[in-house]
């Protein structure tokens, strides 16, 4: 394996959890709900997936547990913001704090345990193609799932009736309600989907990326996922691009340091964030302000108001 291939492979691993979590949040936000609890749901996904994987010695059960944990956290959030029309910003922040704390408690007995790596999918013949072979045809299943997820979300939002309904509810929930669209139940499903994705991203982090559990291991990736959704102007394709730009910038700056390029590491560490800001700026210059923001984003919906 050449250095170039190795770098590309690391970029894919670094980008995948961001992509999965951001894709879930995108759907939630397109329905008009802002869930700032991604970091907390991700941490719960990581803790529960690792606990289940170690207890039952099964990666599959671990992944399932991560998804369920994320979705359960999201259900709690839905109860607050849909059931009680609570403030979404406050509830989301509370969900993050709860998730980080609770995950520490659940994961405590599993501190110090480790899992063996998951074998990547290996398609004989195809994986041997120079340069792109291993990159395209020898990843773990999560990577393929994350790409499939992007395509499916894009198709769902852009090409299906149900997706159109979800988008119109996010744009203007009062009109959507007047037209007889099920605002609350659609949003409930969108929130659950977002939670499940965050949980899956957490599972990827614990089971594939680091292969151990330790408290607070999400280390801010939930917040980056949130930023990516804005960066992408709420479009699935751009979320994919953003996640990979961010992953690439993170990994490349480490390589630049190892190669002794002589650029300050503090500056290099800031590159991914600077890239995000720059991209945001360029996007808004091209499209005018607040492009793509769902009209009802963050506004509580009360049917009879």
């Amino acid at each position: 394996m050449t250095t170039f291939e190795a770098i590309l492979l690391t970029i894919v691993t670094a980008s995948t959890p961001l992509l999965i979590a951001a894709m879930g949040e995108l759907v939630t936000e397109r329905s008009g709900v802002l869930n700032l609890g991604v970091e907390g749901m991700m941490a719960m996904g990581a803790a529960c997936s690792f606990a289940a994987a170690v207890t039952f010695d099964s990666t599959l059960l671990g992944v399932a547990a991560g998804i369920v944990a994320g979705a359960l956290m999201a259900a709690l959030f839905a109860l607050l913001v849909l059931g009680f029309a609570a403030n979404q910003t406050g509830s989301g922040l509370a969900l993050t704090i709860l998730g980080l704390g609770l995950s520490g408690l659940i994961g405590a007995p599993f501190v110090g345990a480790r899992r063996d790596p998951i074998a990547p999918v290996d398609i004989p013949g195809l994986s041997d193609i120079p340069v792109v072979g291993r990159l395209l045809f020898e990843q773990d299943l999560f990577v393929y799932a994350s790409i499939a997820l992007t395509v499916l979300v894009a198709l769902y939002l852009g090409r299906t009736r149900s997706g159109l309904m979800l988008r119109s509810i996010g744009e203007n929930h009062t009109s959507a309600n007047a037209l007889g669209l099920p605002v609350l139940s659609t949003r409930f499903r969108a929130i659950l989907f977002g939670g499940a994705c965050a949980g899956l991203a957490g599972a990827y982090l614990a089971l594939v990326y680091t292969r151990f559990w330790s408290p607070g291991m999400t280390a801010g990736r939930g917040w980056i996922a949130l930023a990516l959704v804005v960066f992408a102007a709420w479009r699935p394709g751009w979320v994919l691009v953003g996640a990979y730009i961010f992953g690439a910038a993170t990994v490349l700056q480490l390589h630049a340091q190892a190669a002794q390029f002589g650029v300050p590491s503090q500056l290099l560490s800031a590159v991914p964030y600077l890239a995000t800001i720059l991209a945001l700026l360029l996007l808004s210059l091209r499209h005018g302000r607040a492009i793509g923001t769902p009209g009802s984003l963050g506004v509580p919906f009360v049917p009879d108001r």
């Binding site: 250095t3 190795a6 770098i7 690391t10 691993t13 670094a14 959890p17 520490g104 994961g107 405590a108 501190v111 110090g112 480790r114 790596p117 982090l205 990326y209 680091t210 292969r211 151990f212 330790s214 408290p215 607070g216 291991m217 280390a219 801010g220 990736r221 993170t250 990994v251 480490l254 390589h255 340091q257 190892a258 190669a259 002794q260 002589g262 300050p264 590491s265 503090q266 560490s269």
Partner: protein
């Protein structure tokens, strides 16, 4: 974390009573000790090792000492947590991160009858001690092993931040390697975080991808050494024994052993002999402990053990003079035959042979 509020209130009253009668340094039958950790107890590293020390106290004085701890305390918001411990009747309070220095000093001034101990800082008061460990002694030994073990002649180092403590570690590691392998090269990557397992792992992978085959780390999670294991390369555990994460890759680990120190300080409070001091312990005082040397040939193992013994007995100092800087000039020798403690604690240069620059 704050169990036994009633007991706390009673103990608090006892402290006040003691203050009122002016009886401060008297032997005590029962004491309460509090700990402030910067990270979670389950970090596998820094805070985990401090908690091992706390547990050692509980074991050493059954029935005489009760302990409490507060974990994941943000450095900026630590004053509240420290004062909370002071108010709830703790006789001795350990604050275990550099960033707790000013808050600890502030609370210590407010509660002159309570004893405080701050790790890795330099500000003391009549009721505030400081303590730290000479981890660079262990780094020198790992450097010797790395210099012997590398086949690509390139060793690597994942650092957290370019601060003196980390720089001194890198220099000691490289000097050790150079002493047995004059042509060895080192590659350094700063993760700019103490704790982000995924990023630490990526930093390690970047080094391994660029030809490093022996990896050292000065970040807190086992991710780097685990990355070495996954690639069939070797490395060193940091802060605690990380063998279970990398049974084939861990050559040895530099363990922070606070237990002996913590037990002795608890005993001093019980005996009424506690004094404000500055302790900088190393291999000799068991504050720095090397785990068994494994996964290496016998001659390398022997060399490591001999080096450890020499440092322990004081015969060898990793920063023995002359120490030469990157510009080829000798560093002024302010200690006896070696760099002084202050020079090591404030180290801001790389030694000759390191081709990288310290990020400014």
């Amino acid at each position: 974390m704050f169990s036994g509020k009633v007991f706390g209130a009673l103990a608090g009253a006892a402290v006040l009573a003691a203050a009122a009668t002016g009886a401060v340094a008297q032997p005590k039958d029962k004491i309460k000790i509090g700990f402030i950790y910067v990270g979670p107890v389950g970090d596998h590293g820094w805070s985990y090792q401090h908690d091992q020390g706390r547990q050692a106290i509980e074991k050493a004085f059954p029935g005489k000492v009760t302990t409490t701890f507060v974990e994941s305390v943000p450095e900026a918001d630590s004053e509240r947590a420290i004062e909370q411990l002071a108010r709830t009747g703790h006789d001795l309070i350990f604050t275990t991160s550099f960033g707790f220095m000013e808050p600890t000093l502030k609370v210590a001034r407010k509660y002159p009858n309570i004893k405080f101990e701050h790790a890795t800082g330099f500000k003391r008061a009549p009721n505030l001690s400081t303590y730290a460990a000479k981890f660079h002694e262990g780094r020198y030994i790992t450097g010797i092993i790395a210099g012997k073990m590398t086949k690509t002649n390139t060793i690597g180092y994942v650092g957290a931040f370019p601060i003196p403590e980390v720089i001194a570690g890198i220099n000691a590691y490289y000097l050790g390697a150079q002493s047995v392998n004059p042509n060895v090269k080192i590659k350094i990557v700063f993760a700019n975080t103490w704790y982000d397992p995924a990023k630490e792992g990526d930093a390690a992978k970047a080094l391994l991808d660029q030809g490093v085959d022996v990896l050292a780390q000065h970040t807190d999670s086992p991710a780097p050494i685990q990355a070495a294991e996954a690639r069939g390369k070797v490395g060193f555990g940091q802060a605690s024994d990380m063998e279970r994460f990398a049974p084939k890759a861990q050559l040895t680990a530099i363990v922070d052993n606070w237990s002996d120190y913590y037990v002795s300080r608890a005993k001093a409070v019980l005996d009424g002999t506690w004094k404000s001091e500055d302790t900088w312990g190393g291999l000799a005082s068991n504050m720095v402990v090397m785990t068994p040397y494994k996964n290496m040939p016998d001659d390398v193992k022997k060399m490591a053990q001999e080096t450890e013994a020499a440092i322990r007995s004081g015969k060898l100092n990793p920063f023995k003079c002359p120490v030469v800087g990157q510009d080829g000039k000798e560093i002024e020798c302010k200690g006896q035959g070696a760099l002084s403690d202050e020079q090591v604690l404030g180290m801001n240069f790389y030694v000759k042979g390191i081709e990288d620059k310290i990020p400014q």
